[in-house]
């Protein structure tokens, strides 16, 4: 009797579980189908294209794809092409320098905003403004500020501060190599593709992102228990010591996430560089765009796109692992 009842309960739970599974799957399937069609299928197709010499032929308004199997030749083409490695270096330079500046400025802003002062909520609210400005508008905005004439905004500011002569003008977006008079360093910056133009563009990109980095760091700061600081102060730790020994370790998870998330965003940078510099700063996204949509080489473009995609997926994987480890700790 008891055995029978319990078996009945068992099968009841089983069918409920099966019902749950069916329900879970029915909720999931539309989104999965969408992602299969608009993400995974195109990615698989990109891989197929990357193994071909692919061209689009349009006859009488009808397009068709001409594909010629080339094995891994498209990949080899880039791996032995110095201009590809130049693109990798310029992209890395843009990513690394932006990241460092964003983090430093973001942390400084966050530390200031962590203090009590009059009007703090308003200042904090206003910090979100640059982040909301679309990237294309940001590009145009800095294009105006960097105007290479004596009447440009940044030139005007430098004149007002007497950093340059009253009618002088700096061409901020000129492709001039930097640190050329410093032996060794000049060669390194040339090798990296560091120019005056890319440095000023990094400033423009940083303007949009640093305040959000600040807001995220600020959220992290608020999780640091105040008692820790008080205890350290009693023990005679200096402000600098407290920052390195308490704040930085406590912010580690937030900074880690910002680092990796921003690395991936910066690695695919396109808008600001394409709009203001066209093809003169060939970061990977710009190079891919040019390869596919200007030269019409969709096989090679796919190979490049696939290389960036693969690279980013690897970073994503590392990122997820790191976050998982931090959450366990």
């Amino acid at each position: 009797m008891t055995a029978k009842v319990s078996r009945k309960q068992d099968s009841g739970q089983m069918s409920q579980r099966r019902g749950d599974q069916a329900f879970a799957f029915s909720l999931l399937s539309p989104a999965l189908l969408i992602m299969l069609v608009v993400v995974f299928l195109p990615l698989a197709y990109a891989f197929f294209l990357s193994l071909n010499k692919a061209e689009i032929v349009v006859v009488g308004g009808k397009g068709s794809v001409l594909a010629e199997w080339r094995w891994l030749k498209n990949y080899l083409y880039f791996l032995v092409d110095p201009s590809f490695w130049y693109s990798v270096r310029v992209t890395s330079y843009f990513t690394g320098v932006s990241l460092a500046i964003e983090l430093v400025i973001g942390t400084i802003i966050a530390l200031v905003l962590d203090k009590e002062f009059w009007g703090r909520p308003v200042v904090r609210a206003l910090l979100i403004l640059p982040w909301a400005v679309p990237t294309v508008v940001n590009a145009r905005l800095w294009g105006l500020i960097f105007e290479p004439h004596a009447y440009g905004a940044l030139n005007g500011l430098l004149q007002t501060l007497h950093l340059i002569g009253p009618t002088e003008a700096v061409n901020f977006l000129a492709p001039i190599p930097i640190f050329q008079n410093v032996p060794g360093l000049g060669q390194i910056t040339t090798w990296l593709g560091a120019t005056r133009a890319i440095n000023w563009l990094i400033l423009g990109d940083t303007w949009k992102v640093a305040p959000v980095v600040a807001l995220l760091v600020l959220a992290g700061l608020q999780t640091v228990p105040k008692e820790l600081y008080e205890a350290a102060e009693v023990d005679g730790a200096t402000a600098w010591g407290r920052f390195w020994r308490i704040t930085v370790p406590m912010l580690r998870p937030v900074i880690l996430v910002i680092l990796v998330y921003r690395t991936m965003e910066l690695f695919r940078v396109f808008d600001i560089l394409y709009i203001l510099m066209a093809y003169t700063i060939p970061v990977l996204a710009v190079k891919t765009y040019q390869e596919a949509f200007v030269f019409g080489g969709f096989g090679r473009g796919s190979a490049l796109a696939f290389l960036i995609g693969l690279f980013i997926l690897i970073i994503a994987f590392v990122y997820i692992r790191l976050v998982a480890v931090t959450e366990e700790a």
Binding site: L27, I34, L49, P130, A132, Y289, I308
Partner: protein, 289 residues
Amino acid sequence: MGDRRKILQRVGLYVLVLLILVWTLGPFIWLFLTSISTQAKLNTIPIQWLPSPPTFEHYQAMFDPTSSTGALFLAAMRNSLIIASSTTIVCLIFGVLAAFSLARFSFRGRNALVMGMLATRLLPTIALAVPFYVLIVGYVERVAPMYDTRHNLVILYTSFIIGLVVWIMQGYFQTIPKDLDEAAMVDGCTRFQALTRVILPLVTPGLVTTGLLAFLLAWDEFLLALIFTRTSNAFTMPYFVFIVGSSQYYQSPAAVAAGGFMAALPPVILALVFQNRLVSGLTAGAVKG
């Protein structure tokens, strides 16, 4: 002595705050000031920071459908509003269902799916743009018009936004105790009714935040609009700002600034109004993983 140090510290703090404000707002204010300047004022040396008298001719031109700028601007604004809202709605409907499923039920491959959703958000747009282009122009175009249409952009934008929606929403669902679903089902709700009548109202703040993020991402997108649109049928505000600054549509720096200011206005207003929500959403999306 101590008092003096304290006062100095206070003054230093306010100087820093002022610097932060100038750095954060200065460039955007300059964009507006440029947009209401006459060409003569913009070309003066030394620079004149305040345009006097201001001119609103570029804004008038944008809202005048008979002018060439006006025709472009009004079409771009309409397209952007339609595309960004449609993308948001599509992503929210399907993303929320999937997020609820991922947050509530455990099954084999669940974690891999969640990570996969996040990973799609991290893909560079260009990696999808190339195969999309070949597929659409080479094949799909023969059976259905896609190139230079709004529905095409909605589909493409969904591809890189829906993963984020699923990711953030499943975080919000996990903050609601599972007992509530069960209580609702004991009271006679089906599983689906438990979601729509009990759980969804509780995550409304999360829905608003996620919807805003989706809208802002769709509004901001440029690369796909550049590749897949050409005419006023479908081009968006970022594309408009791109072409008024270069190409045959270029008029003057002030006109570019006015176009840029109008393109930035909707997202800036939304972000300022909902800034608390957005910051918590960004923190949920980024800080929590």
